[in-house]
Symmetry: C2
């Protein structure tokens, strides 16, 4: 399922992603790295899940989404965010994003800010085994979000109306808000397995 | 700058990301893969750009953003999208997303749909050497977007008012629209290098 070995592998692939973007070694060294990586991929592919990771249940009954692109401990694309749930129902997460998340030079891609805010606002609506899906999401970009700086995304519930949770949140750095968001998250009336 | 060797390396890392999520080989094989990858990363890191890739100029004068998280040919996180500009100013891109972009089981993360729509709507406003930044972006999720299906994202300009471009767009699969978007994209009045 997961393990320290899986987490170490995922961390290694994250460092490789960064080096792939930033490397300035010669073309022969790049070709050699590609050969090495293809060999590692072939060994990992000797046994593969037939599809995506999805949500699996641990031996002690917890649901885990290790392949999730935002929080998944086995997904090298995920920073991964660790979302903390506060006592009052608010959520927050602290993170730093590197070269792999670039849009405008030196800045986080606006769409990556949207990805993170979608996830964090949605987390205010999630209940165990009853995930919420996004209905609408609106983002206001106040100023650029810099790569390499300590960032916080936070969200809280504004109000709940039936199956709809209205959430608000933001991304901030040490100088204040960079992106604001509001969204409506919906619990499907019937959740099929 | 870039090359066939860089593109081949990036493609190799994309396959590795997928295998890292989906592998079911034993822990010893996973640890061995991590060692192999760390060695490749160390060789690539013998010479690194000091920061992110940013936007660089090719010998023939074109601006390229090879590190961009949506379109970057050297960024393994990027699918990468190839955005086609139609004669009437509209833009579109066709793509398939695999296990690495998962949110709800079997489905594209809603925030990845936001990332793609932010980029594609923004592309309607970009001019050579005068990129536009996102002001606001609103997303309406009509239904889930499936992993592994052929998808199209498209956008066009609704109207232009001074430095603001109002754009609309959507993601569709063979059954129709999954996510709709509208956004305002802004050309900063002074573009500093």
């Amino acid at each position: 399922m997961s393990s320290d070995a899986h987490e170490r592998l995922t961390a290694s692939v994250r460092r490789l992603i960064d080096a792939t973007i930033r490397t300035e070694v010669d073309l022969a060294a790049i070709a050699d790295a590609a050969d090495t990586i293809d060999a590692a991929t072939a060994r990992l592919s000797n046994s593969l899940l037939p599809g995506s990771f999805g949500v699996q249940t641990t031996p002690d009954g917890r649901s885990i989404a290790l392949g999730n692109v935002v929080i998944g401990g086995r997904n090298p694309i995920a920073p991964p965010l660790v979302v903390d749930h506060d006592a009052d129902g608010a959520v927050h997460t602290d993170f730093v994003l590197g070269a792999a998340y670039e849009g405008p030079p030196g800045h986080v891609h606006g769409g990556i800010c949207a990805l993170i805010l979608d996830h964090v606002l949605g987390a205010t609506a999630h209940k165990p085994d009853q995930p919420a899906v996004t209905g609408t999401l609106t983002l206001r970009y106040v100023r650029g979000t810099r790569l390499g700086r300590r960032l916080r995304a936070q969200a809280q519930v504004d109000r709940i109306d039936g199956t709809k949770t209205f959430a608000v949140g933001s991304i901030t750095d040490s100088d204040g808000v960079t992106v604001e968001a509001e969204g409506i998250f919906i619990h499907p009336r019937s959740t099929r397995p």
